[in-house]
Amino acid sequence: MNTSPPPPSTGLLSLLDRTWQGALGLAIGLGSTLRTMFQPKVTVSYPIEKVNVSPRWHGLLALPIDPETDNDKCIICFQCERVCPDRCIHIEATGKAKDRVLTRFDIEMDLCCYCGLCVDVCPTEAIVFVPHYEMSTYNRANLNYDLEDLHRAAPKEPIAHGVVKVPNGRRA
């Protein structure tokens, strides 16, 4: 049922009408864009200015060190390993029951899909998100975080509300 558009009608009046419509459409559009030129800019000049990231942002994962026990809060329940949809958490522990010692806690951050299910199921809030997103590398092996990397990734004080704006960041 497809029909071609009707052929343009000829005649001086219709030509004038079309010219006027065209000019009007152009003027209204240009006026709209010119008005936007004088409105405040929304561009964020990364890396000189950085946006405040919300505290719930799914950034890097970390195991923060509890200042009272000087160790992380992980009770080696394996729930995060079980719930991860990408199977990127690998936990190994020696010993039995309460005397378990963590020997390996690897998270493959290049596989991770940052869904937050591990943070959801952890009973002691041992694993948390850090609002940090700058982790590009030249080498994929750098993205395999072991226990020391996860301890180091955590902030020393509780995660503040948003990352502060960097007044003088790196020049491009």
Binding site: P5, G25, S32, T36, W57, H58, V83, P85, C115, L117
Partner: protein
């Protein structure tokens, strides 16, 4: 006698305007299109098979990136709805209002991206920049509530993950005012522009009978005169308690689809305002086990995603992973109508017609 031949033009998987990896094999007679065959499968991620090996909770993380990635929460919604219907789980009232709110924000965000890419395909670069500017505000809202800009994993079976943060309803209301103020600018830029109108009005007409026969849904079908919206026909969440209209047109051309989507943004703003007024207090998450084992059975759940009628057919065998999941993808059926819409037009109209259907290849290929 001039010997004429038909030319096979390959608009390959790498093309700036095919909205992803879609390959169109266009048979041309001069500049007129004789036939268009889409070649899909360049993004097939076997989501349905993967879902059979993940629990119902893990599937929420898969479903919002494996299917239509522009409407992550609409995918989570249909999955969570199917599971809750199968396992007969009740959702608290506050969670249902929050879900509806998020779904409508997702609808506005998806339509804004469509508007931006449709404009840039037809040459209106400014529309893209403005639509992205509005969309950044929505993404800020999403980020402060759910933690993700594009993939949220916010819904859970029995509610949502956590409550909205402090001050979020006020920021959302502010966004609604901002959006209502900015929509006339899009009208000035595109709707009244004679070039835009000449390229889209009367182009790529899809009649009502053909739309029904080919299974088109969503704004594509509503622009052709089919008054069907899942939110009104089979209400879910709190849509039966809210007042909103379903925009409809009868011409069925690209311009009608554009107007329908623009009007849908306005209606979504209206729904969001009502949700914000009526947001009840209470908890947001029911107590559901991590390894949920629904009873044996099957269920079909359908929702209105911004692309159309999105459905999931879920079969459970009593274990903690689904037995079979079949996804009814709206963009797949809408793409099927492409051949009908394109016959008889010129090659320059291919991009306009393809853009007006609003496909997302991840939804087509799954």
């Amino acid at each position: 006698m001039i010997r004429t031949e038909e030319l096979l033009l390959n608009m390959g998987p790498q093309h700036p305007s095919t909205h992803g990896v879609l390959r169109l094999v266009v048979t041309l007679d001069g500049e007129n299109i004789v036939d268009v065959q889409p070649d899909i499968g360049y993004l097939h991620s076997s989501v349905e098979k993967m879902m059979e090996h993940r629990t119902y909770l893990q599937n929420i993380a898969l479903v919002d990136r494996g299917m239509d990635y522009l409407t992550a929460m609409a995918n989570e919604e249909v999955w969570v709805l199917a599971t809750e219907r199968l396992a007969r789980i009740d959702v608290p009232a506050r969670a249902r209002y929050i879900r509806t709110l998020m779904l409508e924000l997702q609808r506005i965000s998806s339509h804004l991206i469509w508007l931006g890419t449709f404009g840039i395909d037809l040459g209106a670069f400014t529309a893209f920049l403005w639509a992205m500017r509005e969309r950044e505000r929505i993404m800020d809202l999403f980020e402060s509530a759910t933690g993700g800009r594009l993939h949220h994993v916010y819904f859970r079976i029995g509610g949502v993950y956590e409550d909205l943060p402090e001050g979020w309803p006020e920021r959302c209301a502010e966004f609604c005012d901002h959006m209502t103020a900015k929509l006339p600018e899009y009208d000035e830029l595109l709707t009244g522009n004679p070039i835009f109108v000449a390229r889209t009005q009367g182009v790529g007409v899809l009649s009502r009978d053909v739309a029904i026969a080919l299974g088109a849904s969503g704004p594509v079908a509503r622009a052709s005169g089919l008054a069907y919206d899942v939110r009104k026909a089979h209400p879910y969440e709190v849509y039966d308690q809210l007042e909103f209209d379903i925009p409809m047109r009868t011409e069925g051309d690209c311009f009608a689809r554009y107007l329908v989507r623009l009007e849908e943004i306005r209606q979504s703003v209206r729904i969001i305002r009502q949700c914000l007024e009526r947001l009840p207090q209470g908890e947001v998450r029911g107590k559901v086990s991590m390894t949920l084992r629904p009873p044996k059975g099957e269920v079909y759940a359908r929702t209105e995603s911004p692309r159309g009628d999105l459905g999931i057919y879920l079969v459970s065998d009593g274990s903690d992973t689904p037995y079979r999941v079949k996804i009814r993808a709206p963009a797949f059926s809408n793409l099927y109508a492409l051949t009908e819409m394109m016959r008889g037009w010129k090659v320059a109209d291919v991009i306009a017609i393809l853009g007006s259907i609003d496909i997302v290849l991840s939804d087509v290929d799954r």
